[in-house]
Assembly symmetry: C4
C-alpha cells in the first residue's frame, strides 16, 4: 500500500514528475535568486555530528511535547498554503496524515479547506492555526475565534509579511486557479465563496508591532507562537509581549532573498530565549539528521513544509504519512547512533566546530 | 509600454542578446581574468541579513540625500562611458531616465554626448560630472568649468587611472567606432570634432596626488567626490585634502584584476571616514538587497553602472527607468522585510557574521 | 605478474569496471547522501604538509609496531565484510596478502570465510578479530573464544552498530547472495550452514555500554581495540574501561550520514588519550600522504578498507598485495620528502594551519 | 614579429596545441593528483590587493637586484629541465631570452645544453647554476666548478630531492628521448656523451643535511641559494649554514603532492629570515599581479618556470622574451595601480585579510 521511496530526495523527484510545472515552481521556488532557500539546506549540512558510542539505546524514544501536547516525534507539520493543488483532498489528507503520525498540524490561513472542515476529519488530533494580522483586524479577530471554536490549540502568528516578496517568475500568476479554488478561512462573513489569491498578501497589516501580538491571545484565549523570527533580540521582545513560543523561520526562503539560513539563526534565538519558551525551526530540513541537529542546537521541534507537500503529491494522505514516518524513523536512527535515548539528550556538544564552508553557489539562476 | 522583465538578471540576458559581441564584451568584461569583477558580485551575496520583525513599516520611505540633493532612493547612476553604443540617444536617454527615477546621474567624461547636451534634455534634474585629471591640466580645468557652467552640482574625480588595464581580449580595439563617434567632453577647444578613444587612457595624469585633489574644487567651485578609493587610510587622506565624499570603487573590476571586492573594502573606508563625509559604493550590486547591505555597511548610497546600460540596451530611456525603478522597489521591499522605515535604519547589526566562503572560482577563463 | 596501475585511483576505476553494479554499489556507497563518506576523503586533503628538508633520509624505515606486533608499515587491513564478493578466494586471499605485506589483517565478523580458515592459510601472520556485541551474548562469547583459539592477537570491538543505517538504495537487498554465501563466524553451533545477511545488523546489542567492553577481554584473554570512536571523551572512557587501543572510525561513512570526518575527529581523540594507548584511524585514506598526515596528527597506524577490496577485485591476492605495497611505498616517499626517517618523526608540526575550505558539495545525490 | 597572445593563459593553450601529448604531460603535470600544483595557482588568487591611490607613479621603475645583480624586473627564469623538448635551440634560446629581458637565468643541472654552451650564447648576461647534491660528491664538485669556470654567479642548491616523486602517469617514461638527447652537465668526465634520464633522480644524495650546504660554496666560491624550502625554521637553519638566499619552492607541485602552496609558505619563511637574506618564491605565478603579491608578502623576486617553457614552445627565443616582457609589463601595471613606484613599496599592507576560501577541488583526477 505504501510503496513509496524510502528516501525523501526520491520522493521529491517523483513529486516533481507528477505535478505540472506551475505547481512545482510554486512549491519549490524561493524568492528572487533562491539564495536563502538553498542556504537553508546547506546550513544544516555544514554542521557535523560528533556521536557518542557505548550508551544503551535499546529503549530509545522520540516522543516529546510541544506546548504541552504529546507528539510522537519532534516534527510538526508546517503551515503551507493551498494543499488542494497537490492532492484532491488537500488539507483533509494532511490532517489525517498528521493524526496518523501522531503530531501537530499547523493549518495555514491560506488553506483551501476551512479550519472547521480540517478539524472535522481528524477530531482527536491536535492542530494549531496559522494566520497573519490583516489590515482588517476584525477579519483577523474573527479568524482567531473560528480557530478557537474549531478546537485549535494555539495561534501561530506569522510576522514575516512586511512586503510582497520578489519572485523570479511570477509563479502565482501562472497558477490557474481551478473552479473550486477558495480560501475559506479568509472569506468575509457576507460572501463566503469569495477568495482572491492575488490580494492575499496585500491584506497583511504592515503596521503590526510587538504590542499587537497580545491581540491573538486576547481574541482566541489560545497561546501564541510567533513564526518568522530570525534574531535573538526580536525573540526576547516577543516573549516580553506574551508569546508562548518562537518559530525560527525565513518562510522557506520565500520572502526576502539574502536573509540568514535558519540553522545559522537558531543558536542566537535559543540563547536569547534562554529556556523561557519553546523554540521551533523550519527551513531546509530534509532528513532526520537535520532534525537531530536542530534539536542539538536547542530547538524543541522542527516544522516540515515542502516534504509534506511532496508526500501529498505522490500519495495524498498515505504519501504524507510516509514522509512523516520516514523523518521520525531517521530521527530515531540519528539518536541511536548519537547515543541519545531521549530527545533532550541531543545537545550542542554533539556538533563539531570544524568549519565546513558554505559555498557561494547556493542559489540558482 | 514598459513590458520589461521584473528581474535584472533577465534584463541582462536580453541585453546580451540585443548587443553585438564586441559591445557586450566591452560592457561585461573586467580586467584580465575577471576575478575582481566576479568577486564584486559574490562579496555582496556572502553577507546575510538578520531582519527585524514586528516593526511598523507601513510608512516606509526610501528617500535620502546625497551632498544635500534629494533622491528618491539611495541609488545613483554611476559614470560609464559611451552610452551611444547601447542606444541611439545615448546619454540623453540616461539623463531623462535618471530624472524620471528622481536620482542623480553622474555623467562620464568619456560620454558620447557633451555635458551641455546631457544637461539640456533634463533641466530640472541633478547631475554630477566625472573626470580624470589629464596630463594637460588646462584641458581638465576647462572640463571642470564646462561642467559647472552647465549646472552640474559636483565633480566626481576618478583616481584609479594609474595605468592602462590588462584586458583579456582587446575589446576596445574590436569595437568599430561608427561615424558619429565622439568624446565631446574631451575635444580640444580648437577642434571640437576630434576624439581618439584609444588615446584616452594615455592622457590620464599618473603623477596626480592627494595635493592635486583641491584643483577640481578650485576650478569648478563644486564639491569633489573622490571615486576609486579602496582603503580607509586613503579615504582619510582624501578628506584631509578637501574631498566632500568618497566613492568606494574598483571600476567594476576593470582596472587591476585581483583587487579586493568593494563590499569587502567598504567597512574599512566607512570606519576611517567616521561620519565626516558621505561614502558611496559601486561594483557588483545586482539587486535591492545588495543596496540594503551596502547601506547597512555604512554607505550613503550606491552607484549602479552595468544594470543601467542593460536597461539602455533593452529599452533606451524606458529601459533605464525600468532598471532604476526595479532597484528602488527592491530596496523598499528589503527595508520592509528588515523592519526599516528609513534608510538610516539599515545598520550593521542587520548583517550576519556567519562566514560564507568566497569561492576561488570567481573569475572566468 | 603484478601489472597493476601504480595509482590507487586507477585501481578503483578498474575495480568498478570489473564488479557488477550491485557489488560496486555495496562497496562504494556510504549511508544516505554520502556526505560523510565523501567528507572523509576531503578532510585529509584539507591538511597541507610543511615538509622539512636537508635531513638525512638515506636510512628511512617505515616499520612500527601495533599492540607490540611488528608491521612493515603503519597500514593495517581494516575489517570489511564478505570478501568472496570481490574475488573467489575471499578472505583467504586477503590473509595471504596481508602476510606478504607484513601487516596485520583485521578479519570481519561478517567474513565469508571462518576465522579458523583465514588463520590456516597464513599461519605465521598476525591477525585481529573484529566483532560486534550481539544480543545473544553467548554467541559473542563463543566468537571471541573461537578467535582466541585460532590464534588471533586482539579483539576489535565495533561500537557503531546502534541502528540499521539509512542507505540511499537498498544495495544489500539487490546483492543476490550466491549459493556459497555464508557468514561462518556467525553461524550458530547447531546449524553451521545458516547465515542471514539481512538479519545481521538486527542481531547487534544496542544496549551495550562502556561497562560491557571488558567482556571481550574476559572471554578471550586478548587485548581489546574499540573501533568506531569519534570523540575524545568517549575514547577516555574506553581506556578507563580497559580498552587497549582506540580506532577512530565512522565506518567509512556507512552508518550515520552527517557525522564528522575521521581526520577532523582524530586530534580530539589523540589529545584525550594523551599517549596512554595507541590510536588508529580509518576512513577516506587514499594514498600514502594521507597516511603520513594521520600519523602526524597522532595516529599510530591507519586501517585501510575499500582500497584492499579494490585490490581483491582487480587481482585477488596479488591485487591486494599491490595495493598494500603501493601505500607503503607512498608512505616512505612522504616520509622522505618530509625529512622523517622513522614514523615517530611525523608530528603535528608538519601540518599547515592554513584553512582549506571543506566544500559543502561533498556528497552525491 | 612577436605576434603572440598578450595573455599568458592563451599562450599556455597554444603551447599545449603545439606540443605532443607526452611533452605536454611532462611539462604541465604535478605529482600524484596535482593537488599541490593546482593549490599553488589558487593560493595567489586567494590574496586580494588593497591598492593605494593618488600617489605619483609617473616615474615607476620595476628594477631591482638579486644577490647584487641588476635585473629589469623581479622575475627570474626558474631552473627547469630539458628545454630542447620545447624548441630546437633549447637552453640557448632561453639564455638569449633572459638576456634580452634583462634578467637572470637559472640553468638546470638537467639541461639538454651544457652550462658552458648556455653561457657562450649570451656572454654579457647573469646566470646561476642549479644542481642537486649527487651521491657521487666528486661529480657534484666538478659540476659546481664547471659552473664557476663558465662564469655563473651563484649556485642554486635544490634540496627537495629526497625521493622519486609519485607521478599519476609515468610521463617521463612515455617521453621518447630523441637521438640528440643528453644531460651534458651530468656527463662523467670520461664519457661526455652518456646521459640516462631515468637514473638522474636516483643519483641524488638523500643523506644531505644542512652541514653539507657549505660544500657548494667551498667548491665554487659562489654564493649559495637554497631552493625547495617551505618552512621558516628550515630557512633559518640554511642561513646559519651559510646560505646566501632562500628560494621557497615545492618544485611546481612535482615532488610530494599535498605539501603547502608556496604562497602560503612564503610569509613564514620571510618572517624567519627577518631580512637577513633574500627570499625568492616560485610556483603558480601566472601573471604580474601574482608577482606583486609575492613581493608584498616579502619575496625579493619570483622565479617563473612553466610560463617560460610555454614561450619556448610557441616561439622559441622570441616566445620566451614575450612571456618575460608580458610579466614585467603586468608587474609595472600592478605597481602603478597600487601606487608603488619602486618594488620595495610593495608591502604586506597591500594585501587584504578577507578570507577567500581555497577550494578542495584544487587537483584533477
Amino acid at each position: 500500500m505504501t510503496d513509496f521511496p524510502a528516501d525523501l530526495g526520491e520522493i521529491e523527484v517523483r513529486a516533481q514528475e507528477l505535478l505540472d510545472d506551475a505547481a512545482w515552481e510554486y512549491l519549490s521556488r524561493g524568492a528572487a535568486d533562491n539564495v536563502t532557500r538553498a542556504a537553508n539546506v546547506v546550513a544544516w549540512q555544514a554542521f557535523r555530528l560528533r556521536p557518542h558510542v557505548l550508551r544503551d539505546v535499546s529503549a530509545l524514544d522520540t516522543r516529546t511535547t510541544v506546548l504541552g501536547t504529546d507528539v510522537g516525534a519532534p516534527i510538526l507539520v508546517a503551515p503551507t498554503a493551498m494543499h488542494r493543488f497537490f492532492c484532491d483532498e488537500g488539507e483533509k489528507a494532511t490532517a489525517r496524515a498528521a493524526a496518523a503520525a501522531d503530531t501537530v498540524y499547523i493549518v495555514s490561513m491560506a488553506a483551501t479547506t476551512s479550519f472547521e472542515d480540517v478539524a472535522a476529519v481528524a477530531p482527536g488530533a491536535s492542530r494549531w492555526a496559522q494566520m497573519y494580522m490583516l489590515s482588517d483586524r476584525g477579519r483577523t479577530r474573527a479568524l482567531a475565534q473560528r480557530a478557537r471554536d474549531a478546537g485549535y490549540c494555539a495561534i501561530v502568528a506569522s510576522v514575516d509579511g512586511a512586503a510582497v516578496p520578489t519572485r523570479r517568475r511570477t509563479v502565482q500568476q501562472s497558477l490557474t486557479p481551478p473552479e473550486w479554488f477558495r480560501f475559506p478561512n479568509l472569506a468575509s462573513d457576507d460572501n463566503a465563496d469569495t477568495a482572491d489569491v492575488m490580494a492575499l498578501v496585500e491584506d497583511f497589516d504592515t503596521s503590526v508591532t510587538f504590542d499587537d501580538l497580545a491581540c491573538f491571545g486576547e481574541w482566541s484565549g489560545l497561546p501564541v507562537v510567533v513564526k518568522g523570527v530570525l534574531r535573538g533580540d526580536d525573540a526576547a521582545r516577543c516573549l516580553d509581549a506574551g508569546a508562548a513560543a518562537i518559530a525560527v523561520s525565513n518562510h522557506g526562503g520565500r520572502t526576502l532573498d539574502g536573509v540568514i539560513a535558519t540553522a545559522d539563526a537558531l543558536p542566537d534565538v535559543v540563547d536569547a530565549v534562554g529556556g523561557r519558551a519553546e523554540v521551533y525551526v523550519d527551513g531546509g530540513i530534509r532528513n532526520g539528521v537535520d532534525v537531530a541537529k536542530a534539536l542539538a542546537l536547542g530547538a524543541r521541534a522542527v516544522l516540515t513544509g515542502r516534504p509534506v507537500l511532496w508526500g501529498l503529491a505522490v500519495g495524498a494522505e498515505a504519501g504524507a504519512i510516509h514522509v512523516l514516518n520516514v523523518l521520525a524513523d531517521q530521527v530515531a536512527k540519528a539518536m541511536a547512533f548519537c547515543g541519545a535515548v531521549r530527545v533532550d539528550e541531543l545537545t550542542r556538544d554533539l556538533l563539531s566546530t570544524v568549519v565546513v564552508a558554505r559555498d557561494r553557489n547556493e542559489g540558482e539562476t
